[in-house]
Symmetry: C2
Subunit: 264 residues, 2 copies
DNA sequence: GGGCCTCGTATTACAATGCGATACGCTTGA
DNA sequence: TCAAGCGTATCGCATTGTAATACGAGGCCC
């Protein structure tokens, strides 16, 4: 959950100092708002001197903030700027944005756009008018690709060999008692998504929640993103939810597919 | 607009390599989605070799993505993760989140939460149910503190000396023909905000838009954030908009103030 | 209330590491 | 066909980051 990428080997072009500095920012993936030097050093697996130099540098640059009283560090506002730059330049997200807003208005439910990123999906747009669990409103959140509705919709658009590879490298730990987490069961759900054009999960991410999702395919035929609609089992049966939103979602995703947004 | 922080002097604790690496990410504040090596080198003021090493490292870590065909770089999805970690841990933003959602539902207008950051405000929550200009939906966007409604509401809570210092260091370039950008005019608007408990701007950020905003004060008595309500002059007169939402907003901001969220 | 532990900060000698000039091969367009 | 510009790879040098150490301040427990 901390570092989804592998730290590479000795390589003459690799700048280890940069990695260490970014690891300091990564230390805050624990969810703690404030950390002192020792905690940061521990989380990064370095000594205190190293943590001192990197926190000092990051603070000057605005990527870390230091409380004058407690001398503890937190992430700086400048990290939000990087997100802004990512999203403003992303043509796929920009094109999807008005579509998602419209979808939210039309359905009244929470709608999301998530991006494909190897073993994870990563939320990029979240539209809701209801009061939600805080994390469900935040972009940048990562979820396992194999258990999420959008993830399975995207896996359904990948060649079988790639799906196998992804499942093999994934940690299939269930998120709720109802998470389908055996490879055969997951593959069956992926096959269903392939056939229907959308995926359905019932209480697999959060209890009480039903989600349908459909994949957006890029110009190269690969899944780039997914749109999700999430509802509450207090208001819907899974069947009604699927019937009402599944086909609509598949059609919407289709409309956003096969454009030159994503790559190039 | 590119680098709000000053690059510091020679200092034994300062890790220049880290700064250079982060400058590569900062190069994308131009708004371009894709950049080649030379463009990145130019934007960072370095040579091609340096750009080569840093892009290579950042790509391995997921903070940059490289198109296999064109060999050009774009920001990586991992920068969104940093935002997530910032927001999930920020108690002020978390506390404000349901309040903003409620405010959006109650008013039907676009509501924002912005954070105080020296010469800028920086959006952290944006709630809207309408179709908006894309940038108006993105968090992490920076705006000048002196021209924005939320910024002036926050300046109204600062000592006069600090306001003078901020105005002195700011670039008072108007954003629209109606932006009040002379120091005396700005100070007058700040004084009005002080008196009313909220600030009002009419077409100062975008033509056709009216905004009211009120500051959230932290436990130390300093402005930490502001909540905004933005409307269209096509639907409202400035006077009606102010009368309808100003007092509501001031009261809402008051309710979120003086807690132990922001610092510590 | 005194002593001890842990924190953040500052310094320094050392060599590993990042540096940047250079060269190569490829694609593109004139 | 050639030249310009690109991404990539190599390498000797010294700059820059390293990590051990020491200091002083603050907080906690006995």
């Amino acid at each position: 959950m901390t570092a989804p990428r592998k730290p590479p080997k000795a390589d003459p072009l690799y700048v280890a100092s940069l990695e260490k500095g970014l690891n300091v920012l990564g230390a805050f993936s624990s969810g703690q708002q404030f950390m002192n030097l020792r905690e940061i050093a521990e989380a990064c697996g370095t000594d205190k001197s190293t943590a001192q130099r990197f926190t000092h540098t990051l603070s000057q640059l605005g990527y870390l903030e230091k409380c004058a009283k407690t001398k503890r560090f937190s992430l700086g506002k400048r990290v939000l700027e990087l997100s802004f730059n990512y999203l403003r330049a992303n043509a796929l997200v920009e094109a999807a944005s008005p579509v998602l807003i419209e979808l939210q208005r039309a359905t009244g439910e929470r709608v999301n756009l998530s991006l494909f990123d190897d073993l994870s999906i990563l939320y990029a747009i979240r539209q809701s008018s209801k009061r939600e669990y805080y994390f469900s409103t935040l972009i940048g959140r990562r979820m396992p690709i194999w258990s999420s509705s959008g993830g399975r919709a995207m896996l359904a658009a990948l060649p079988r060999a790639e799906v196998n590879d992804i499942l093999k490298r994934s940690d299939l730990k269930p998120l709720t008692p109802r998470t389908i987490h055996d490879p055969a069961g997951i593959r069956k759900k992926i096959a269903q998504a392939q056939q229907k054009g959308y995926a359905l999960t019932v209480e697999e991410g959060v209890m009480g929640e039903v989600v349908v999702a459909a994949a957006i395919i890029d110009a190269d035929g690969r899944p780039a993103a997914a749109i999700h609609i999430a509802g509450s089992l207090g208001e819907w049966t899974a069947e009604r939810f699927e019937r009402k939103f599944g086909p609509l979602l598949a059609e919407t995703a289709q409309r956003l597919s096969h454009h030159r947004f994503a790559n190039r």
